[in-house]
């Protein structure tokens, strides 16, 4: 089982929001996330702040099209190759590429006083998918971009096996494909979890997949340990806010 986040996981850039973002990263660690894409929202405070707030992440962040303005080099790994154990003890090589929507006016502080910009995701996919294909049994694109753009990338860039997308509140209710490549959207706000079951043949080639979307209603039981962890974060935030609330009430 391999967990991914498709990007834009950050809360607002307030003290409470940053505390929740750090708690979220810890929750992702506990759930065993294997990789996360970087979205525009995640860089609202710039690269250095992102690195500081995600320093405890036990999983890599990927982005192929967030680059330094001066060198045009990606500031995150454009992709990662995960070695995932199969049921029969074999190792599958799972290639994971990150993309975010093109935004020509995006400009954030990068490392070493550089600026970060976003280059077209189609160009980045064309640049990196071929080498990732060579190194992987399965190529998965984590896409924080509109579904129409995901279709273009799946159509124009050979070698992609699966596109997992997130953009606003979009979620998939039925299987959507482009040239045989499944394109699946997982919704937003932690309300849903996408599930794709991958079938590989004896030669480690993709032989099929089937996907589901879990809407996390109350019928899904809570994990007690996670519930305690999240409750602790929210209680601390509520406790920190309480004195300010009472002082505005006045009176002695």
């Amino acid at each position: 089982m391999v967990w991914f986040d498709l990007g834009n996981f950050w809360d607002n850039p307030t003290s409470d929001g940053l505390a929740k973002t750090e708690g979220l990263v810890e929750a992702m660690n506990r759930l065993g996330y294997a990789a996360a894409n970087v979205g525009e929202r995640d860089l609202v405070l710039g690269y250095d702040e992102f690195v500081a707030r995600t320093a405890k992440a036990s999983f890599p962040f990927v982005s192929a099209n967030i680059v330094r303005e001066d060198t045009k080099a990606p500031v995150f790994a454009p992709y990662t190759v995960l070695e995932v154990p199969g049921r029969a003890g074999q190792k599958w090589r799972l290639g994971v590429l990150g993309l975010v929507r093109f935004n020509p006016v995006f400009l954030k502080a990068g490392p070493e006083k550089s600026n970060l910009v976003i280059v077209p995701p189609l160009d980045a996919a064309r640049r990196y998918v071929p080498e990732l294909r060579e190194r992987s049994d399965l190529v998965v694109v984590l896409a924080a971009l509109h579904r129409d753009d995901a279709h273009v990338i799946a159509r124009e860039v050979p070698g992609i096996d699966l596109v997992l997308g997130s953009y606003g509140a979009i979620y998939s209710s039925a299987m959507d494909t482009e040239g045989g490549v499944p394109i699946l959207y997982a919704g937003h706000q932690g309300q849903r979890v996408g599930e794709t079951r991958i079938f590989l043949d004896a030669g480690s080639k993709l032989s099929g997949s089937v996907s589901f979307l879990h809407t996390l209603t109350a019928r899904y039981p809570s994990d007690p340990e996670m519930e305690r962890f999240v409750g602790g974060i929210l209680s601390r935030l509520a406790g920190a806010a309480a004195p300010a609330a009472s002082s505005t009430g006045g009176g002695t």
Binding site: L24, L94, M175, G190, Q191, R192, R197
Partner: protein, 61 residues
């Protein structure tokens, strides 16, 4: 009410414990009524994914 992140840990456990009995292509992504785990053949890999979480730790609906 959406239970969001709190439910994810248990969802992961349930998915890991599943023994699907029949995968099918070209289907709706909805799970069978009242099922938390869809039936189907045991896959080679299971990918689980979230997106646009934007800091939601708590129930949001």
């Amino acid at each position: 009410m959406h239970r969001g992140w709190i439910a994810l840990g248990m969802g992961a456990v349930l998915a890991a414990a599943s023994v699907p009995s029949g995968a099918q292509a070209g289907h709706t992504l909805q799970l069978p009524t009242d099922a938390l785990v869809a039936p189907g053949q045991p896959p080679s890999l299971v990918l689980l994914y979230t997106g646009n979480v934007i800091g939601y730790l708590e129930p949001c609906g």
